[in-house]
C-alpha cells in the first residue's frame, strides 16, 4: 500500500480511473453481435425447458404429448419456437465465429465486420430456411 500511496502527497484520495462500461462505446456491429451471443445463450438456457417438456411429454403418453403439441401449434407456441430456432442458430453461428477467433483467424477489421454481418444475416436466413423446410415436411402450413 505504501508504494501505491507514494504519489499522493496530500494523503487525499485521488479519483482513480474506473473501468469503462457499455454506454461509452460507439455501437458497432461486432459489439452488438457479442451481446447477441450472450443473450441468445441465456435464452437457450431457459429454452431447454421446452426440450425437456417435449421429451417428458413424449415419454408420458398421448395426452401429455397432445398438450405439448397444442401449445406448440398455438400462435404463442409458434412464436416461441421461431424465437428458439433463431436463438439456436444465431448462437451456433456466433459460436463458430468464436472458435475461428480461438484459432487465431479473422481478426482483421474487414474480417471482423464480415463475420459479424455473416452471423446475423446467416442466422436469420437459416431460421427462415429451417421453417420453410419444416412446413414442407408437414405438407404445407396448417
Amino acid at each position: 500500500m505504501t508504494e501505491l500511496e507514494a504519489g499522493s502527497t496530500t494523503g487525499a484520495r485521488r479519483a482513480r480511473p474506473i473501468s469503462p462500461h457499455l454506454q461509452v462505446y460507439k455501437l458497432m456491429l461486432t459489439f452488438v453481435m457479442s451481446g447477441f451471443h450472450r443473450i441468445t445463450g441465456a435464452v437457450l438456457y431457459f429454452g431447454m425447458l421446452l426440450i425437456a417438456w417435449w421429451l417428458i411429454a413424449a415419454a408420458s403418453g398421448p395426452n401429455a404429448y397432445g398438450n405439448f403439441e397444442w401449445f406448440m401449434g398455438s400462435l404463442i407456441g409458434r412464436l416461441v419456437l421461431f424465437g428458439y430456432t433463431w436463438a439456436l442458430l444465431h448462437h451456433l453461428l456466433g459460436g463458430i465465429r468464436h472458435l475461428l477467433w480461438d484459432l487465431g483467424l479473422g481478426f482483421e477489421p474487414n474480417e471482423r465486420e464480415f463475420l459479424a454481418l455473416a452471423t446475423i444475416v446467416g442466422s436469420i436466413s437459416l431460421t427462415l430456411i429451417v421453417w420453410v423446410v419444416g412446413y414442407l415436411a408437414m405438407g404445407g402450413p396448417r
Binding site: R38, G41, A42, L44, Y45, M48, L49, I51, A52, L55, I56, A58, A59, G61, P62, Y65, G66, T85, L88, L92, G95, I96, H98, L99, D102, V130, V133, G134, A137, M138, G139, R142
Partner: protein
C-alpha cells in the same frame, strides 16, 4: 510487477489460480461448443422429421437407438455447456456474495434437474417401460 509474497513457487508453477482449476471452464466450454455444432444440426433435423407425426410415431423414432443416443449426447453436452455459460454470466453481473452463491447454486440445480429429467425421458422412450 513484483510477485506477491503470499504465492508459493509451486502455485506459480501450477498456474491454476485461486479457484484451483485454471482455465478448465474455458477449455471445457470450447470442447462442448465444438461437439455442439453437429449435435445442434442433428436436433434441428430430428425435430423437423417429427413435425406433425402421431405420438406413437414420435415415441418410436425418439426411442430408436441412433436417435436416442444422439439426443442423449445433445442433452449431456448442452447441459454442461449451459452450466458453464450461465456461471460466467452470473460471475460477471452478480457481485453481492449471498445472491451470487444462491444464483450459482440455482444454476447447478437447474442444469442437473433439466439434464436428468430429459435423459430419463429419452431412456424411458427407448426402453419403453
Amino acid at each position: 510487477m513484483t510477485e506477491s509474497r503470499m504465492r508459493t513457487p509451486m502455485s506459480r508453477v501450477r498456474g491454476l489460480g485461486a479457484a484451483h482449476t485454471g482455465t478448465k471452464d474455458f477449455w471445457h466450454q470450447r470442447i462442448t461448443s465444438v461437439a455442439g455444432i453437429p449435435l445442434c444440426i442433428a436436433l434441428v433435423i430430428i425435430v423437423i422429421a417429427l413435425l406433425g407425426r402421431s405420438h406413437a410415431a414420435v415415441v418410436q423414432i425418439l426411442g430408436s437407438p441412433i436417435v436416442a443416443i444422439i439426443m442423449l449426447l445433445f442433452i449431456v453436452n448442452t447441459v454442461y455447456h449451459m452450466w458453464i455459460g450461465m456461471q460466467e454470466i452470473i460471475i460477471d453481473y452478480v457481485h453481492e456474495d449471498k445472491l451470487k452463491l444462491a444464483t450459482l447454486l440455482g444454476n447447478t440445480f437447474f442444469c442437473f434437474a433439466i439434464g436428468l429429467a430429459s435423459a430419463f425421458a429419452i431412456l424411458k422412450l427407448s426402453f419403453g417401460v
